[in-house]
Amino acid sequence: MLSRRDALFGSTLVALAAAAATAAPALAAATGDDVAALRHVKVDLVAPPFVHAHEQATAEAPKVVEFTMTIVEKEIVIDSDGTKMHAMTYDGWIPGPMMIVHEGDYLQLTLINPDTNTMPHNIDFHAATGALGGGELTLVAPGEQATLRFKATRPGVFVYHCAPPGMIPWHVTSGMNGVVMVMPRGGLTDRAGKKLHYDRVWYIGESDFYVPKDAKGAYKTYPSLGDAYEDVTKTMRGLIPSHVVFEGKVGALTGDHALTAKVGETVLIVHAQANRDTRPHIIGGHGDYVWETGKFDNPPQTGLETWFIRGGSAGAALYTFRQPGIYAYVNHNLIEATELGATAHFKVEGTWNDDLMKLVSAAGPIATH
């Protein structure tokens, strides 16, 4: 039985559909059949902070790029003290793997939720148009899979995340977020339209975790994901993270895991935070070209000191190393960087440039006159 309201909705929709039909020539949208005829390419995903091989500029016709991700629920260790957290992940990684296509391509994802999991999950692509970014169409219970295709209509780096009804922040801050990068077909350019190239992409996924503590201040553990839900939700509501980390763990990108480059090499650092604001800074370096909001149709800002990543977005910074040594890459809320974990290290080899920096007089006793 339709309510009056339903009936109203129904008739409105019919009217809209009629309008769309008369306007059809102007819309020129590809039909599903047209897309099926495009070239389909399967791409294997790569664990962050690295990304799958891709062209920066492309001369090819638009295609359908197919990815598959398996959702993994697992308990992980998130710091060197052995603090444990029940994580929910895309493909087992925090952040979820980066998917790269070109503007005008179609991204097609098969999302698998194995029956070994306990929760329904889905995916909301900030790069996609409609159906809550696909979240409305992709909710899969354990034992199910769904395949969604969307057209990459605007270039940039975009967050994706899980958005199950009623439990969105818990899933997002338990690890279910990642990045789609939509390259302009001609590659990156500066303000004047000059082409910009990178030697590699470093993909930094920043997470805020909310591990509950017991009365004595010790981090609590739980037998299962569901058992942790109530306490974690309470902790989340305090808005004070217990950990702020890159790549899912304090120290995931330092020491033996520090990222390496050579003087003269150019990296594109993509930084995503699906939930909370952050402010990346390269200690000892800069952002040569920074798409702070992450959208490549906007001209990059140049020569930045620190840039701002709004929660729920990704940004990109292009930097060419000019000096060897160790760089710290931090969230420049230094409490979060040093106390909560948001620090990565870059190890850069090459020849020191005295022009850029020279120690004129080494540290010693204060000179007397």
Partner: protein, 296 residues
């Protein structure tokens, strides 16, 4: 499609035979269990099945199903009380809220903030302490016990595989049209009245867990019907049906996908193998002939 609400079909031949059988059966011991139970007569309920249904890739309304109950059903007259649940916590058989040592729990208020796991643990404890078998109702049993308090899900719109938004918008309208959330404050038993079976507070401000699992039924061209079930998400029933993860105690998050979440989560249990008293058997017999008779 429109179906008559709460149509009670008396497949009366069988029902009467069963009821008479109970009436003249061997005498049994009076219950050692002080739980206030109402015995519902055998009946058939017709309702829109729980779960998600799709055909050829697009969502469709759940089918209307008829379920026949050939046996009487023993149901708690009221929801599990705060005091009863607290006793289970005190016996360390149930997970308690952290405030277990605060104000004494009342026996005239429903226990709220129960997860499915909590409700199931309580049923197991009550079974052990009474020697009877208590459990959560199935979804169909809940529809049966709710009688006229069960509100049939609104049929939304025909599937259009070319336009998933159409059904989505219609479903949103249906959700939005549901009653506004009611005050969450637990009310004494009877505050929300009794239904035609004499059960108190059905579809009040405490939703009731069922044993029903979330399920999806896919009927695709060439593929035949397939079903997936996720028992990590259970069906809750009340003013409207919801699907809630089994560990959730506060339904304001984790409840119905849009619109109004359940106000509170609690439980009303079924007792199997009821040792019917003679008046209860008579009442069941009468009710099997007069389906609207309230049973005491």
């Amino acid at each position: 499609m429109s179906i008559p609400r709460h149509r009670v079909l008396l497949s009366s031949g069988l029902a009467t035979v069963v009821a008479v059988g109970m009436l003249i059966g061997t005498p049994t011991m009076p219950p050692t269990d002080s739980t206030d139970l109402v015995i519902l007569p055998p009946t058939t309920v017709t309702y829109r099945a729980a779960g998600d249904f799709s055909r050829d890739g697009s969502g469709v309304d759940a089918p209307v199903v008829a379920v026949t109950f050939e046996r009487p059903l023993a149901v708690m007259r009221t929801q599990v009380s705060a005091a009863a649940y607290r006793a289970c916590v005190a016996a360390k058989a149930c997970d308690g809220p952290d405030d277990a040592d605060e104000a004494p729990a009342r026996d005239d208020l429903p226990a709220v903030g129960l997860s499915w796991r909590d409700a199931t643990a309580y049923a197991a404890w009550l079974s052990r302490t009474t020697g009877h078998h208590y459990r959560l109702p199935t979804d169909a049993e809940w529809v049966r016990l709710a009688a006229e308090a069960h509100v049939e899900e609104t049929a939304v719109a025909a599937a259009d595989p070319r336009d998933p938004a159409r059904r989505w918008l219609a479903a949103y309208a249906a959700e939005s049209a549901k009653a506004a959330p009611i005050d969450r404050k637990p009310r004494p038993f009877g505050h929300f009245g009794t239904n035609s079976h004499g059960l108190a507070d059905v579809a009040g401000n405490v939703w009731e867990w069922t044993d029903g699992c979330w399920s999806r039924h896919v009927d695709g061209a060439g593929a035949g019907p397939r079903e997936t079930r996720n028992c990590g998400v259970r069906v809750v029933e009340g003013r409207h049906r919801g699907y809630v993860s089994d560990f959730v105690r506060d339904p304001r998050s984790g409840g119905c996908s849009v619109g109004t979440p359940p106000s509170n989560l609690g439980a009303r249990l079924i007792r199997d193998d009821p040792d019917l008293t003679l008046p209860q058997r008579l009442a069941a017999l009468v009710a099997s002939i007069l389906p609207t008779a309230a049973l005491r």
